[in-house]
């Protein structure tokens, strides 16, 4: 075996190094130095992020007889996830200093890095075995992370719900894969695609397989009706975990979904899964919105909001081709910043006062104007209001979807657009509570931790800058179109 092919996996190796360093630091450093674990992890991860931007990283390469593939696109999506992870880790620093958490602080960072590693594999896998390994690596540690707040019952309940549904969904996914294997005799994406293409006709078994695979991966993306775990888990999990789940694992899932659907089942797009996806998108956006309308718990609220956002991300999958991929990546990037800004505020308030209900946010402007402002920017960005980045990402994802040109896609986009009205409604509810409500503020004035503010500044900069500074999207689109 040629071990040099490991060098194709530059980012994975980098991440493993980071993981090992954090692990060693956590294990062997004296106790007084452990206070800096979080910052060490953040620093190392930041280096890893920067490393991802080295030109050599984005060179195309494959390894293990094509089971693993890296190219500019995968490198880029991994970079996007890195950025998000850094922000999540910064946000987690304050939380990880809590008494109940502090003894297991190191583990948290290690688990995050591990799941990220799994996501790397999901993204780069071109063989279902590697994909499953990546998927499980990405989702099993999350269960432990969800259960991290041992002192809160919700955390346990969320973990149970998560692990049971996660395992069930991977069972469904693997069942689907076994059908695929039975039909095509291979687990390589390219070979499966070739076999399906060669087959020409479509069989019931293939349809079931496709549905199961969509279900299995859709679980990660929390597409309706595979989304039901989302709200409970988001609510129960510690806030940094929730934010991690809502952006990073969703982003990775979305990209993996795109790769699988197009590279494996591309041949049966219009036969098998185009309409499935249409139905899922409509359901996801609508049901996510309808549930989000009523939520009072901010984390649960953002859970449903993230469900409907996943629906918009899916529009990028339908578009596929250069524009769709770029729009999807851009959407994920913007979504990371917007959602993390929101979670940053939620986390800051939760850490300071323990309150997560929207009713408690009444009059936040009076006591904590900066937090309220950040939250408002996040909400506007999520709702797609210019000049914030969310507007651009929504616009581009719709534009890329419509590039397909069929009447059905116009209808689909129209439904999605009408749903933005509902989503605007509930995002504005938050703004209303913070800015307009005249009740006495519940949350007293407090100073958020330096780490929290730092993370929020990054997010605000992203929200404002990512859209107006066009080079981000232009660069993505250029990169995608040269890579494709």
């Amino acid at each position: 075996m040629d071990y040099s092919q490991f060098f194709a996996m530059k980012q994975e190796i980098g991440l493993l190094v980071v993981f090992l360093l954090v692990f060693l630091y956590d294990t062997f450093m004296p106790k007084r130095a452990l206070g800096a674990t979080g910052w060490v992890a953040v620093g190392l991860m930041a280096i890893q992020t920067l490393f991802g931007f080295c030109p050599s990283v984005s060179q195309s390469a494959d390894a293990f007889a094509g089971m693993y593939e890296t190219n500019a696109i995968t490198a880029c999506i991994k970079n996007i996830l890195n950025i998000g992870t850094v922000i999540v880790m910064i946000q987690a620093i304050r939380w990880s200093k809590q008494d109940m958490v502090v003894i297991r602080r190191g583990e948290f960072y290690e688990l995050i890095l591990l799941t990220l590693f799994g996501m790397y594999l999901m993204i780069s896998a071109r063989h279902f075995l590697l994909f499953i390994i990546g998927l499980e690596t990405a989702s099993l540690p999350v269960a432990a992370m969800v259960a991290f707040d041992k002192h809160r019952y919700e955390s346990h309940e969320a973990a149970v719900k998560y692990i049971l549904t996660a395992v069930f969904s991977s069972v469904i996914l693997m069942m689907g894969l076994s059908f695929v294997y039975g039909l095509t005799g291979s687990l390589y994406f390219s070979k499966i695609a070739g076999a399906i293409f060669a087959e020409g006709t479509i069989s019931l078994m293939l349809i079931v397989a496709v549905a199961f695979v969509i279900g299995g991966v859709g679980f990660k993306l929390s597409l309706v009706p595979f989304h039901l775990w989302t709200a409970d888990v988001y609510q129960g999990a510690p806030t940094p975990v929730t934010s991690y789940l809502s952006v990073i694992s969703k982003g990775a899932g979305a990209f993996a979904f795109l790769v699988i659907l197009w590279q494996v089942f591309g041949a049966v797009y219009s036969d098998a899964w185009e309409w499935m996806l249409y139905a899922l998108i409509i359901l996801t956006i609508t049901i996510g919105n309808l549930f989000a309308m009523r939520q009072k718990n901010m984390k649960r609220f953002l859970a449903f909001s993230s469900i409907s956002q996943a629906g918009y991300i899916m529009l990028g999958i339908i578009a596929f081709r250069g524009m769709g991929v770029a729009a999807l990546m851009y959407y994920v990037l913007v979504y990371i910043f917007s959602n993390l800004a929101a979670f940053g505020v939620i986390g800051a308030i939760e850490n300071a006062t323990g309150r997560v209900s929207m009713d408690d946010y009444q009059g936040l402007r009076k006591t904590n104007p900066k937090l309220a402002f950040t939250m408002m920017l996040a909400m506007f960005s999520l709702a797609g209001i210019p000049p914030f980045a969310g507007f651009f990402s929504k616009f581009f994802i719709f534009t890329s979807a419509i590039s397909q040109g069929s009447v059905a896609i116009y209808v689909l986009v129209l439904i999605a657009l009408i749903n933005t009205i509902i989503s605007l409604y509930y995002y504005l509810l938050v703004v209303k509570a913070m800015f307009i409500s005249e009740e006495t503020p519940v949350i007293p004035e407090f100073k958020s931790a330096c780490s929290e503010r730092f993370a929020m500044w990054i997010c605000v900069a992203g929200i404002i800058g990512l859209g107006i500074v066009s080079c981000v999207y232009n660069g993505l689109l250029d990169m995608v179109s040269t890579a494709c």
Binding site: F380, I385, P386, P387, F391, F395, F396, F398, T399, I402, S403, G405, Y410, V413, L414, L417, I418, T420, I421, L424, Y425, L428, V431, K432, F435, I436, S470, Y473, N474, L477, D478, S481
Partner: protein, 497 residues
């Protein structure tokens, strides 16, 4: 980039935003607001004179001062600017109303700083919209202008402001949902460009697609233009909004609707406009009469004015749909005229409300005796609204009627006559208000101690009155301004007569 004069229409508001953000007290805030809006007004007036001299010197491009800076190059999105006479008229309107609005909110309370921040953000959107000739930036600025509305009404409004603010925002966003689809459709079916001039000159959109995209964009902008049956945000929204916001919203923002309908829906898709105009003619014709009738029985001053706006803005869209030069010229005039006089109305209503703390005409009376200056201004505004010659409403309405009647189709003519009826109904509700509110005996003894207008209020109202009268007395000036937009060459290019 900064060598183009137009970009300053966005730069100045942005500067104002920055300065407002660092200003410490009311004095500085006012100074920034007034200086900034004066600068904008000066800029737009300069632009006007310069534009006219350029035209006189023989510049014959449809848009002048055009410039384009690449933004999202792969999607062919540019920050493209350019103006013709209509845009300039709208720019002047916006800056006048921003200025007078600043004066009208001289004593805004609470949070003056934030109020002006949002107000200026809103006007950034407005100015940006009017200078853009790129559909994407146009749409972006359009939405920038919409959202501050929510907070402005929600925080500084009155009455059932939560409900109104939410309704207004959601309905307008609903409109922009259709609009966004329409614009993206135009991009794909109009030669993969967002540039209005290019699309219009090439008439690039396939007719069968036009039939689909025209209603999308027209309805999208029509919601903001208060087209029946999508007008219901207007009464509630205006009733709840603070003075300056009502002024800007009715005076300028609703014009975005009319302007957009013209600039996007009709300019780019003339064939569909010809084919489908009748549907929207019915709707806007209904708007005109229906709004006027509704206004007759309202008791809240702002509701009366909001319904009157429905009627007047309906006339704008109505005229645009007639697809001929005269009617469209009238539509532009009506936009200006309505913008100014409705801003005047809302300013006065705000001032009266600030004193009497009621807007119910049944609870007021004889204000002419108490606050003669405001009352006289109100009468003038009313006269402008009901189309008294010498004030702006008359020239606009007459141009519209004459232009609409040029259409030889009986259907169009019957609707024109129907629209003409609005002048009578307008007279009814205006005189009803004037009679109840200003004339007659003083209704409430407590009102006797109220004071007349202060200097900033006078500045605000007089400036608007001067503009209203100027348009009303010297309408020919418009012909010069608008001539080129509707010149035969352009109409030939976009397929209109």
């Amino acid at each position: 980039m900064f060598s183009n004069i137009l970009i300053y229409f966005v730069v100045i508001p942005l500067l104002m935003l920055g300065l407002l953000a660092v200003s410490q007290n009311m004095k500085q805030i006012r100074a920034v607001a007034v200086t900034g809006s004066l600068a904008l007004l000066g800029l737009s007036v300069y632009l006007l004179t310069d534009y006219l001299s350029l035209r006189a010197a023989g510049a014959d491009a449809p848009m002048l001062y055009t410039d384009s800076w690449s933004w999202f190059a792969p999607l062919n999105i540019n920050m493209a600017v350019g103006v013709d006479g209509i845009s300039i008229a709208m720019l002047i309107l916006s800056s006048v109303i921003l200025l007078t609005g600043s004066f009208a909110s001289w004593k805004i309370n609470p949070h003056p700083k934030e109020f002006f921040l949002w107000l200026v953000l809103l006007s950034t959107g407005v100015f940006g919209f009017f200078i853009s000739i790129d559909l994407f930036t146009m749409f972006m600025f359009y939405e920038v202008a919409l959202i501050p509305m929510y907070l402005l009404i929600g925080v500084w409004g009155s009455g059932k402001k939560n409900y109104s603010a939410m309704k207004l925002t959601l309905m307008l966003m609903g409109g922009s949902a259709f609009l966004m689809l329409g614009l993206i459709g135009i991009y794909y079916n109009g030669g993969h460009t967002w540039n209005i001039v290019e699309i219009a000159q090439g008439n690039l959109i396939d007719p069968s697609w036009q039939n689909f995209l025209f209603p999308m964009t027209f309805v999208g902008f029509g919601v903001l233009g208060a087209m029946f049956p999508f007008h219901t945000w207007s009464p509630d929204g205006h009733a709840s909004a603070p003075t300056a916001v009502s002024m800007l919203h009715a005076g300028v923002l609703m014009k975005l609707g009319g302007y957009g309908c013209f600039r996007v829906a009709i300019y780019l898709m003339p064939q569909a406009a010809e084919e489908l105009a009748w549907i929207f003619l019915i709707l806007t014709g209904i708007s005109v009469v229906y709004g006027a009738f509704s206004a007759c029985v309202q008791t809240d001053l702002k509701y009366i004015n909001a319904y009157s706006s429905v009627s007047h803005c309906g006339l704008v869209l109505f005229a645009i749909l007639m697809l001929n030069t005269t009617a469209m010229t009238g539509a532009i005039m009506q936009m200006l005229s309505h913008g100014l006089m409705t801003a005047l109305f809302f300013a006065l209503i705000g001032m009266i409300y600030g004193r009497t703390h009621t807007r119910d005409i049944r609870e007021m009376g004889g204000l002419m005796k108490i606050m003669p200056c405001l009352a006289v201004c109100y009468v003038i505004a009313g006269m402008a609204s009901l189309g008294l010659p010498g004030l702006s409403g008359f020239v606009a309405e007459m141009t519209i009627f004459i232009g609409s009647f040029e259409h030889t189709d009986t259907f169009h003519r019957v609707f024109t006559i129907l629209a003409c009826c609005s002048i009578v109904i307008t007279a009814v509700y205006i005189l009803r208000v004037v009679g109840k509110l200003l004339f007659g005996p003083v209704y409430d003894e407590h009102h006797l101690s109220l004071t007349d207008a202060t200097w900033w209020e006078r500045t605000s109202t007089f400036a608007l009155i001067v503009c209203v009268a100027a348009i009303g007395c010297f309408p020919n000036f418009f012909e010069e301004l608008i001539k080129f937009t509707f010149s035969p060459q352009i109409f030939a290019v976009i397929g209109m007569n």
